[in-house]
Symmetry: C2
Subunit: 324 residues, 2 copies
């Protein structure tokens, strides 16, 4: 079995060595820009960890790594248009840099390239891998549609929010692990437990993201702090605050999220003050621990030995202790 750091380094090598040299440049340059921005690359790492834990040569999983990283970046490119996000990973988003049309089209080709990588895997694995990739994307689209619909609603429940982030984030973590397991010919029960681990750790990751968006600074997080508040995003922080706050604070929060406000920095401060008054950060951290426990329970069910599971334990520990 490989060390965690070895797998991390391998993921970077795999992605760095892939360079789109095809024409037209106007289509492929944004693809390169997107995948070489040094994101966290968690999802391809999950592919390698899964293949490796079943004692299979990780070389077999390299193409699937690229597929999953391209799929993920494709969703980011299109999401950034929909969310009008100016920055990602500390640099301009694709649509900011190249315009909406090129961003739509480069996103489209990234998704197709992702299948092209799957088609380079072992032939007997292609149907299952294609099925996984397809089902992941359908779920992500459904999650993004819910996310957009929630912006127009005032009655989103915590449960609905968890469903939405499961679809947008959890399913992709699960899919990455499943692909690694398919490549390693893991048995169905192990594959399902691994997918469960991915789902729960993806939920924990997204909840952590909501916390970091609010209480992190630009230099470490790569985005402007408080963007979710600025954009009136009804994250778990907002939903919990609306549940816990007294009527007066609830009305204030509602006002801050619905009225047009010129001084955005002041708005962010006011919202954070309410979040802090009701210990929202701590509540979310409790939820994150619960999902982490669920993930670790799923990991326990897998039939391989304890040592083989250590990389996924490291993975989830790093998720919880990150600052970006």
């Amino acid at each position: 079995m490989n060390k965690f750091e070895t797998l991390q380094a391998r993921v970077n090598e795999i992605i760095e060595q892939e360079k789109q040299t095809k024409q037209p440049l106007s289509l492929y340059e944004p693809v390169d820009y997107a995948i070489h921005q040094k994101g966290k690359r968690l999802r391809p790492l999950l592919v390698l960890i899964a293949t490796d834990m079943f004692n299979t040569d990780i070389a077999k999983a390299e193409k699937a790594c690229m597929a999953i990283e391209l799929l993920h970046n494709f969703t980011l490119v299109h999401d950034d248009i929909m969310d009008a996000s100016p920055l990602r990973r500390g640099v301009p988003t694709i649509y900011q840099k190249y315009g909406i049309n090129k961003a739509i089209l480069s996103g489209d080709v990234m998704y197709a390239l992702s299948y092209q990588y799957i088609l380079q895997c072992e032939k007997d694995k292609i149907p299952s891998l294609t099925k996984t990739l397809t089902s992941v994307l359908i779920n992500i689209c459904e999650g993004q549609a819910l996310d957009m619909a929630f912006e127009e609603r005032n009655d989103v429940s915590q449960k609905e929010y968890i469903t939405m982030i499961s679809l947008k984030t959890g399913i992709l973590f699960a899919g990455a692990l499943k692909m690694g397991a398919i490549i390693a010919d893991a048995d169905v029960e192990d594959m399902n437990s691994l997918s469960e681990f991915g789902l729960y750790s993806g939920i924990a990751f997204q909840l952590q993201d909501d916390v970091l968006d609010c209480w992190s600074d630009l230099s470490s997080f790569g985005k402007v702090s408080g963007t979710d508040i600025a954009d009136n995003k009804k994250t778990i922080l907002y939903l919990l605050a609306m549940e816990k706050a007294n009527d007066e604070d609830k009305a204030l929060l509602n006002k801050l999220y619905t009225e047009k406000i010129i001084d955005i920095q002041k708005k962010i401060q006011d919202v954070k003050a309410i979040f802090e008054k009701y210990n929202i950060k701590e509540s979310v951290e409790t939820m994150i621990e619960q999902y982490t426990d669920l993930a670790l329970n799923s990991l326990n069910k897998i039939s391989t030995d304890e040592e083989s599971k250590s990389n996924l334990k490291t993975f989830i520990n790093q998720l919880l202790n990150r600052n970006k």
Copy 2:
């Protein structure tokens, strides 16, 4: 072998009976709207014709029909955003009706659904069908990127234009036929000749489209006449005119395509007058005949009997004699 009309009717049945009933509605309603607009449905028809000409039960090709129709509609949905087209098939485009964000996302899910249909085909055909679908989309994206790049260039050659429409249109016709042939276990030579037929007839189709955009009326074409001129699209009409016109008309044409003009109807009339002065319509019709001949030559190379080829002959004849 089935009659042409039988296959046409079957295509309509296959598409009509497919209804997206899944949630969230905001994602799937635009998908339904797109595929049930009664477009020409030429591409799924090509899938069925190809399967049928090799004496294979067309029931085996139904899922691939849906896949190809969804793929095609996905590209239209995204193209209409990029081209800011208000109408298609005589009704508002998806982005006009549902907004840009929903149009991007519904387009994305249509592409994923297209793979989901491929995954319902016979298992041993899945890798080849997936490969065809993927390669078609990559080509379409490259074609669309060239199309957008041409808008900013003044030196586009006829050859480059034909390359662009081959990628955007020809390859999809070829891909549809290839998928039908894959399902029918046709041999490689026949598959290649069939793809060639698709490529050339797709080019002829697109050239015909350029002619119809200029010399058709709204009621039969489903779009506003002269939109290509209004949008300064450098179609084959423009490229041929720039080649044939005298210096004075060339300068006028260039002026009409670059300066901001308020009276669009007058602009369309002026451009059409130049096209007509140089018999551009007739020149394009000659090109269409040449590509049709190339297509028919490719058809001749196929090893099946003459009768089996009659549906593709009917297909190309109808392409040439359509008014929409």
